[in-house]
Symmetry: C2
Subunit: 410 residues, 2 copies
């Protein structure tokens, strides 16, 4: 069982979590619980590290001491939940990353899990004790605290489940995975099941319900994951939620499973590029060297000139840095002008059915055209189509696509 | 170097601490720094454990999970100070109790230090790195977090100093140890030196400047301790403070070194006790079994009756429990009535000179009598005399005693 920050935001909610844990235990299950920091705590801690560390947004997070400070948030929640369980008569103890141990590499602030020897946890759970594990944190091989990056508690939970051979229930503030954001489209439907592949695309394309890396990990180790709500009253069951599983386990196949959107990207346009080989490599090589992730890319040629234009998207927080980097390389790349547009949104349709069905793209482009939504950039994969549009049209586009694929009928 | 909660209360103060650390380093010293939680943080964490743990003031602290929660405060400060130092170009890293390791017993919430293998810390310091150590915390032999009780960071600091063979500078919000509390007596004088024995009495009799256990430890291992202020401006030196050392190192002996006071006690009076052997043992045995510390004790006999009265003091927070315990044993003890008085203060004069000089008690009682202060209970040791008085007379008594021993002339 994994509980996020809003589910453990105060002592009353921690008591609610304790009741859910106890219900699982009374249903005959051995339980390990992974917890996030109380909502707001991580932000407070990160703000302190920003003040103490090197100047510049986010730079502090590469310092190993960032991890020492920020990991304390999950430590507090784990201790409080274990106390609450004990106080209800449920045997429990907390486990920090270094106690499990959840061994991670030393890429501080965004470490990856190397290994989780399951023996200690398994022994504690076999003895009837609930294991309350601080999420988001591990320990490096030389004994330092390492954190897994934002949202890392989902990843901790799936990894722990894989290590001890368990299923993983992710409790959050929604009761499952929806065809799209219900705050935008009230006719959004909760999905009973969704494949790992689709969930992965949904997560990386903007759906906040699960962290991308946790889904990758679940897929790699075939960990059955369920998304369900922690916001239930005493005595009430948390419902069935949404099961994330292998595609083969989903009987009723859908062509499109969901519509996702993200406003976290910025579009960078380079104009007047020389039209010869090596230009793209110059641009994206420089960005890759600086660890800037580039998402969508489109190159266009002016009809009457021998120059080209290049448009690509990066995360909004990387936009200023990306512009600096290309400007610094202006002479070697050889462009005339660079512009940034932060008023863009990426809207995507996702579905494994695209593999076998044609016409999905046509339906998408038609639906957007009917509403007068201009498409700036397109990118596709085997099971998704994404378009970059003017951010002002986000809600309109999401609703139009939800209707076009009749997702309200799921 | 040890810095308490008010010295690291925010990022600006942490930067001031970093400058003091760097100055020591530039003076050619290897430095280990022990830090407390940022002022107010421990209280916040303790309040959460009170809400999560068993009902009843302070009961939560015996839970091993209390330590997990509360130890996070020092972890945050240690990480932030290490970051700040690195950002100033000073090599530094943080050390949690489990990383040092500072091995403690499993008396959670009030653990005692068993052992500090110095190898890892010494190697880091030899490499030129400042070791920033989270105070107040250790690790049990089975790998759980244990805290040393309130004020435990002083104890951590002295223990670390003993382990690595260093002197221990305790930085606090005052610039040394005074003959009495300067907020009460403006003519209080800062002591250049004070013996371990006197400091121990001062600390246990109410002076808040050092934690009692840290002084015991310093005395046992002959760790030179200095108390000085962290509240200095950039470029300013922290002054000489007060040196706590062996009595032999103090050339100018004083008869009385200081006047301490405490309002943390309550007086419990038992009336109409049977006057036969075993009564005291009944009363104080029951209290000891319940871990209630009794301080001053006086027994009196009514001139005309064959019954006795007994008065004793306990910590204010233990008073209600102490009354419950004696009430529960009323039939076996056999007293008629019990009363509690929380409006009492203990005022003490301390000085190693009492060993060789007579008349110290006489001067004390005369000074108090001159001001009309009634003495309720008296207790003495080789180097101190304490009296229990009406709390309303505390300041008056402190000033009268300070004048009577001419401490302003030190």
């Amino acid at each position: 069982m994994k509980f996020g920050g809003t589910s453990v935001a105060d002592l009353e909610r921690i008591r609610r979590v304790a009741r859910l844990v106890n219900a699982e235990r009374e249903a005959g299950h051995q339980v390990a619980v992974v917890v996030s920091a109380m909502a707001g705590k991580t932000n407070e801690l990160v703000a302190w590290t920003d003040g103490a560390g090197p100047a510049g947004q986010g730079l502090a997070s590469s310092d190993s001491e960032y991890d020492v400070v920020v990991a304390s948030g999950e430590q507090v929640t784990a201790g409080l939940l274990a106390m609450t369980l004990r106080n209800m008569g449920v045997p429990a103890r907390s486990w920090m990353g270094w106690q499990v141990p959840l061994i991670a590499d030393d890429a501080h602030g965004r470490a990856r899990i190397d290994e989780i020897p399951p023996e200690k946890l398994a022994a504690a759970m076999d003895s009837g004790e609930v294991a309350v594990i601080a999420g988001f944190q591990g320990v490096t091989r030389d004994g330092r605290i390492a954190t897994l990056g934002r949202g890392g508690s989902d990843t901790s939970a799936v990894a722990i489940a894989a290590a001890v051979g368990a299923a993983c229930d992710i409790y959050t503030d929604v009761d499952g995975v929806y065809t799209t954001d219900p705050r935008i489209e009230s006719r959004a439907r909760k999905l009973a099941k969704i494949s790992y592949e689709e969930m992965l695309e949904m997560a990386s394309l903007g759906a906040k319900v699960l962290q991308t890396r946790s889904v990758e990990l679940a897929m790699a180790y075939h960990v059955p994951v369920r998304v369900l709500s922690s916001f239930v009253e005493p005595g009430e069951a948390p419902g069935q939620g949404t099961i994330v599983c292998d595609e083969e386990e989903i009987v009723e196949k859908r062509i499109v499973s969901g519509v996702a959107y993200s406003r976290d990207e910025a579009k960078i346009s380079l104009f007047g590029l020389p039209d010869h080989p090596g230009v793209s490599s110059n641009i994206f090589g420089a960005l890759a060297d600086a660890n800037v992730n580039v998402d969508m890319i489109v190159q266009s040629h002016a009809r009457t000139a021998d120059t080209a234009n290049m448009e690509f998207t990066v995360g909004k927080r990387d936009a200023a840095r990306a512009v600096e980097i290309v400007r610094a390389a202006q002479s070697s790349i050889g462009f005339e002008d660079v512009q940034v547009n932060e008023d863009v949104a990426k809207v995507s349709v996702i579905g494994v059915g695209m593999r076998s069905h044609t016409g999905v793209a046509k339906t998408m482009f038609q639906a957007l055209a009917d509403k007068g939504v201009n498409i700036q950039v397109i990118s596709t994969s085997e099971i998704k189509i994404s378009v970059l549009i003017d951010a002002a049209y986000t809600e309109l586009a999401v609703r139009a696509l939800h209707a076009a694929y009749e997702l309200e009928k799921l």
